[in-house]
Amino acid sequence: MIEMKNVHKVYKNGVTALNGVDTFIDAGEFVYVVGPSGAGKTSFIKMMYREESPTKGNVYINSVDVASIKERKVPLLRRSVGVIFQDFKLLSKLTVYENVAFALEVIEENPKKIRKRVMEVLDRVGLKHKARFIPDQLSGGEQQRVAIARAIANNPKIVIADEPTGNLDPETSWEIMRLFEEISASGTTLVMATHSQDIVNKMRKRVIAMENGKIVRDEHRGEYGYEV
C-alpha cells in the first residue's frame, strides 16, 4: 500500500519536481506512471523507496511515513520494496547468482535458505542456467531479468520499476512485462514508470499521468494518452 498526501519536492538547484501530489495505491494494484520527460515521474517513484524525501507532505509505504524515518531505518524500508531500474544497476563484478544472493545476505538470511531461494527466483525469470555468468556476459533483457530476480528475492510487498524496458527492444520488453504480470498476479503491488505507449495500451492497467509535477489523470484500464 502506497499513499501520498500533498507531496512537494523542490531540489537544491531550485527545480520543482513535485507540486502537490496526492495518491493512493492499494495492495496488489498494478500501476503505470506516464508523462513527458521532466514531468516528475522519476521523483514520484523515488519517493517510494526513499531515494529522495519530500520537501513537504507525507509518503506512506505500508503505513510507515518514510518522510520522517531516520536515515538508519532507510535500509529496512528498501528491503520491503523491490526496485528495478532502466540501467539494471547490477553489481558488475559479481555473478548473476551473487547479485541475487546479495539482497538476501543483506537481511542475514541463513546461507542454506539463500542458496535455495536464489535458484528459485533465477528459475522463475528463466536464468538458472546462467547463474555463474557476470552481467557483462548477458544481453540487456537477461540483465533486467536478473535485476527482477534480485528485486523479488525476499518477497517484497511492493515492486517499483523506473522505465524497466527503456533500454530494451520491443520483443524483450514483452518478456519483461510478462514477468511483471506474473509478479503482480501473485499479489505484489507494482508501480512502473514508462514511456512505452505500446505496453500501456495493450496491457491495460491503472494509469497515473503526470505533468509539471502534478497528477493530471488517474484512470483504471487507462491509455497512454500521449503522442510518441
Binding site: E51, L90, L91, A103, E105, V106
Partner: protein, 299 residues
Amino acid sequence: MAMKFSTFRRHIREGTKNIVRNSWMTVASVGAVTTTLVLVAAFLILILNLNQVVDNIENDVEVRVYIDLQAEEEEIEELGDQIAGLNNVESFYFQSKEEELEMLIEDLGEDGEAWELFEQDNPLNNVYVVNTERAEDLSGVASRIETFENIEDVSYRSDVVDRLLDFNQYARIIGGVFVAALLFTAIFLISNTIKMTITARSTEISIMKLVGAKNNFIRWPFFVEGTLTGVLGTIIPIGLVLGGYHYLYTNLNDRIDFPFIELLPWDPFAWQLSLMLLGIGAFIGIWGSVMSVRKFLKV
C-alpha cells in the same frame, strides 16, 4: 543487533573475493603499500642504527679528572663529593694511578713493556672518570670541575665529542628530510589509490544501498579487503628486510673497524622490524579502504 556468524563469514569471503575481482585495484594498492613500506624499512634501518651508534659513542665519552699528585686522601674524597654534587653527572668512579698504569701497559701491548719500569716510581695521576647524562653536557661539567681544588688537569676527547655532536645534528636534519619525503610519498601514493578506488566503487556502493544494505554491511568487506591489501603489501618489504639486512649485517659489520660502530644484530632486529612493517601495512590498508568507503556511505 549482533551480526550473525554466517554474515561474518560472508564478509570475510566477500572481502577476500574482492581482492581477485578488483585485480587492477589490488595491484595498484598493493604496489603503493609496498613502495611506502620499502622506504619506511630502509629509513628505519638507517635511523635505528644511527641511533645505536650515537648511543654507543655517548657511552664511550667521559671526562677524565687528573688529581694533583700532592693531594691528600681526604682532599681526594672531598673532590669526589663535589663531583657527585654536580648536575648532569650520571656516574663517576675513582681510578688509582696503579690501575692507570696497568691499563696503559695493556693498551700499548709489547711497547708497553718499557713502561713496566715505572711501576716502582709511577709518574701518573690518580683519576676520577666522570660520565655525563648526555654528550652535550661534557664541556659544561668539565669546566665546572676545573674550578675545584687539587686538580692538575681536566680533559675529555673534545674532538670526538664535537664531531659526534655535529654528526648528531646532521643526522637529525637528514632524518627530518627523510621523514618529510617519506610521509609525502606515502600520503600521495595512498590518496591517489584511494581516489582510484572511490571512482570505481561509488556506483557499487550506491547499488548496495538501493538493495537495502546497511552501512556496516557495506563497510565490512571493504575492511577485510583493505586489511588483506595492506598485508599483501608487506610481503616484499619484509622479504627485503629479512634477506637484505642479513646480507648487510654479515658483510658490512666485519668491515667496519670503529669500535663504537656496530649494526644492530639481525636477530631480533630484523624480526621486530618485520612485525612493525606488518602492523603499518595492515593499518595503511584499513585506513585507505575505510576512508574510501566513508565518503559514499553518507549519501
